[in-house]
């Protein structure tokens, strides 16, 4: 990759809005594993897949049976399937390449979030968090649902009688619960309205451990970092908490079961808390103590080094970025539209946010000129360096004229074929045939009269020619950056061509950066 020649001096987080994507009203987003595709659920029930490299639409998943707003979208591990949950209480599982609907289930309540099992490449079970009842495991093939326990019953054995969680009996309180799979999907972590984190074995519907969250506030969101080592919780007490996952990544459930047998003889609740303390350790807390803002859609960066959270205040579009040590490093501020979803690119320092108006903003690093790129032996210095010339620096010695020294061993073996494994995707199993991109078929040209170039040598071009390289910058409104650099030898840098046109074309908007 191009890692060796990118300037490491700049921090690895975005700074300004680079572009926005527009297509209908988008409500929620999800990157695929490598960040080459961005899926966006829309208010009309369709799911749009953007090719993140060309910033154009690669596919549109539309089902005539579903016209209600999409509440969440989730990719399967290697990009073969997408699960969407919708306001009409349904869950739909799509085959991405074939653009076909695999399965559809309707739940008793609108699922606010649905996540596919992360351990399989063609998952059919998913975790759904409905609007106001306990999270459940849904088997998309059979339609069976298994409600997960959200609190310890009075008997203290950790298994909750199913009737407790039914909303229909009226006795269960409004208990919005957040839940997520761990990295390989053998455990589900649930955050309940009493501010407790439950570690649940979803196959046996058993609570294995409990971690009470300080403050006991309702937990609204939960998400693991990509490497599965950290868990983030977002609570009603306006605090984002990061927990360190103490269990082994693979076989966490087995580890729990084994340590349970060896456990001490305590009664139910205390025992579960003891187990819980061996699973998660509180690592950091983030809050804005001045504005005391509630957080929306907090998540990790791809490498887990940064945490971002959106401000839930309606009149602003603010994204806070913290480093893992807990320092607030940046607040990104966009146009005054509420933020409803947020995602960090799995690999690049790019953040994508969805605003209430349905636009998706792409935040990236501010482009800075890399002066050392213009000549082979230029090197950028962080600060001035004193240069002391040699005694004979300016002497004229014709016999010892500078020879182009090659201090390179010309007999060294060169490997032109070997490729290193990309450490960012260490667990990728290439036999699964990961979908990194969707084939781009050129859309056929509209037939037009044959252009005549015969005998024309002028560079003016005729009227059929689109904008020439020299005049592409004229008249484009809303342009954020034009990459003009001081030419060393009449060599300028790129300037992107902007085209108006269909509503799915990209556009640029100014942003303020704090």
């Amino acid at each position: 990759m191009n890692a060796p020649i990118i300037d490491p001096l700049q921090g690895d987080f975005p700074e300004v809005i680079e572009e926005y994507l527009e297509h209908g009203v988008m409500k929620c987003i999800a990157f695929n594993r490598r960040g080459t595709l961005l899926a966006a659920g829309c208010s009309d029930g369709s799911c749009v897949i953007w090719d993140f490299e060309t910033r154009g639409i690669a596919k549109e998943l539309r089902d005539k049976d579903c016209v209600a707003a999409i509440t969440s979208v989730c990719w399967s591990k290697y990009g073969h399937r997408i699960l969407v949950s919708s306001a009409d209480k349904s869950l739909t599982l799509w085959d991405v390449v074939k653009e076909e609907r695999i399965a559809r289930t309707t739940l008793p309540q609108t699922p606010l979030q649905a996540r596919l099992h992360p351990g399989s490449s063609t998952p059919s079970i998913c975790l759904a968090c409905p609007f106001s009842s306990a999270p459940m495991i849904v088997d998309m093939n059979t339609g069976n649902t298994t409600v997960l326990p959200v609190s310890i019953s009075d008997t203290g054995n950790g298994v909750v009688p199913p009737s407790r969680n039914r909303f229909s009996d009226g006795s269960a309180p409004f208990s919005p619960t957040a839940a997520c799979f761990n990295k390989y999907g053998d455990l589900v972590y649930v955050g309940n309205s009493k501010g407790e984190l439950l570690i649940v074995d979803h196959k046996n519907v058993l609570i294995c451990g409990i971690v009470p969250v300080p403050g006991n506030a309702v937990i609204k969101n939960m998400v693991f970092s990509r490497n599965g080592q950290y868990l983030l919780t977002n609570s009603n007490d306006r605090t984002i908490r990061i927990y360190e996952n103490l269990l082994p990544l693979k076989g966490g459930l087995k580890f729990l079961e084994e340590s349970n047998h060896a456990g001490d003889e305590q009664d139910g609740f205390e025992k579960l808390k003891a187990v819980g303390s061996r699973c998660l350790a509180l690592f950091r807390e983030f809050q804005d103590s001045i504005t005391k803002v509630h957080w929306k859609a907090p998540c990790f960066s791809g490498d887990g080094e940064w945490v971002i959270g959106g401000s839930a205040s309606k009149g602003e579009h603010k994204i806070y970025i913290w480093d893992k040590a807990g320092h607030l490093v940046k607040i990104l501020e966009g146009p005054k539209e509420a933020l409803i979803d947020l995602a960090w690119h799995p690999v690049h320092p790019i953040v994508v946010s969805v605003s209430l108006t349905g636009l998706v903003y792409i935040w990236a690093k501010d482009y800075t000129e890399n002066w050392s790129a213009f000549a082979p032996d230029f090197k950028e210095l962080e600060e001035n360096e004193e240069y002391v010339e040699r005694e004979d620096e300016f002497d004229l010695m014709p016999e010892t004229e500078k020879v182009k020294e090659s201090d390179v061993d010309e007999d060294e073996e060169i490997d032109i074929m070997g490729v290193e494994k990309d450490s960012a995707f260490s667990d990728s199993d290439m036999s699964q045939g990961e979908i990194c991109f969707l084939p781009a078929d050129p859309s056929p040209d509209v037939p037009e009269p044959q252009d005549k170039f015969v005998g024309s040598n002028s560079k003016q071009g005729d009227s059929n020619q689109s904008v020439s390289a020299l005049s592409e910058e004229a008249g484009q409104s809303g342009r954020l950056t034009s990459h003009i650099s001081t030419p060393l030898e009449a060599m300028d840098n790129s300037a992107a061509e902007d085209n108006g046109g269909t509503s799915s074309r990209r556009n640029r908007r100014a942003s303020e950066v704090m």
Binding site: T36, T54, D415, P442, D445, A469, E472
Partner: protein
């Protein structure tokens, strides 16, 4: 001089298998498809021909350009061909239906070189108007217009994961660009002379093979140092494409203005074979992705495409 270790087997020379004459003017470029089943040739006679690698017969022609064609490229799934023409446009052809699907307009002068990225959702082109353009395959729009050089751009190529583009130019420089932003990342050579006539990444993207109008070099671009020089051939005037041969031992293959094809050992830099037979400058060579087959093309006095195999 050969000072690499003893080869495990004696070098098996390539020899001529077939001469394919079809074009009525100089052939400028030949390329195998990524799956090796087909190869295409482009010519100054304004057409492209698509051939079967197995039967070595012509399958069909692609016509539509109003002037000669200098370069062509295959998409990764071997379904699309993109051609760069003196008529200032690029055309995307469907190799299954033999039809032109799209015409990319925007360059203000001869388009000289073209390549797909590995995902084949982008096309990069270099032109005599000194710019490098990155096109969106789906819509045909230019995503980036890079004022890359001070003179005609002779060669453009994506690296293995599509994140970088290398460009070479008559102005003597070879530059590396970030494919997603169009930003300049590095300048490899900056001497005004000689012109850089060709540049491409190695299969693993770590090295760049650069041809200048006096010799051919293999660079490690992250350190900015050249590692090997391959010489002996004649390259003073034309932009001759060279390539890596990796199907058996590793070789560098290049055409030459003395009408021969040169093969050097990659590590030892020694010349292992010189294939002769063409009657004009061999301007383009391509290696089959899996078999030991080389196809070459030559200019106006010859106009043929020749197929060479190893016995």
């Amino acid at each position: 001089m050969a000072n690499n270790g003893n080869p495990t087997q004696a070098y098996r020379p390539y020899s001529l298998k077939k001469i394919l004459t079809n074009h009525t003017r100089a052939v400028s470029c030949v390329k195998f498809s990524k799956n090796g089943k087909l190869f295409a040739s482009a010519s100054l006679d304004k057409t492209l021909s698509v051939w079967s690698s197995e039967t070595l017969t012509k399958l069909f022609s692609l016509t539509g350009h109003s002037d000669g064609i200098s370069d062509l490229a295959w998409s990764s799934d071997s379904t699309y061909i993109c051609s760069a023409s003196d008529d200032r446009t690029l055309r995307i052809w469907d190799a299954r239906s033999a039809e032109c699907v799209k015409t990319l307009k925007g360059h203000s002068d001869i388009v000289f070189c073209v390549n797909f990225n590995p995902q084949s959702n982008l096309i990069v082109s270099g032109s005599f108007d000194d710019t490098v353009r990155i096109w969106d395959v789906k819509t045909g729009k230019s995503l980036h217009i890079i004022r890359a050089h001070a003179m005609p751009v002779t060669s453009v190529h994506f690296n293995r994961d599509g994140s970088l583009i290398v460009s070479g130019s008559h102005d003597g420089s070879c530059k590396i660009w970030d494919a997603s932003t169009g930003a300049l990342l590095k300048t490899l050579i900056d001497d005004k002379v000689p012109a850089v006539s060709f540049a491409k990444f190695s299969p693993n993207g770590k090295f760049i093979l650069v041809a200048t109008l006096d010799n051919t070099l293999l660079w490690n671009y992250s350190t900015g140092k050249f590692l090997k020089i391959y010489s002996g051939h004649k390259n003073r005037v034309y932009c001759i494409a060279s390539t890596f041969s990796v199907t058996s031992e590793k070789y560098i293959v290049s055409g030459s203005e003395d009408h021969c094809i040169y093969l050097w050992d990659l590590q030892g830099k020694n010349l292992v074979q010189k294939l002769d037979g063409h009657t004009d400058t061999v301007v383009s060579v391509t290696c089959h992705p899996t078999e030991n087959m080389i196809v070459s093309a030559a200019l106006d006095n010859d106009r043929s495409v020749r197929v060479w195999v190893q016995h």
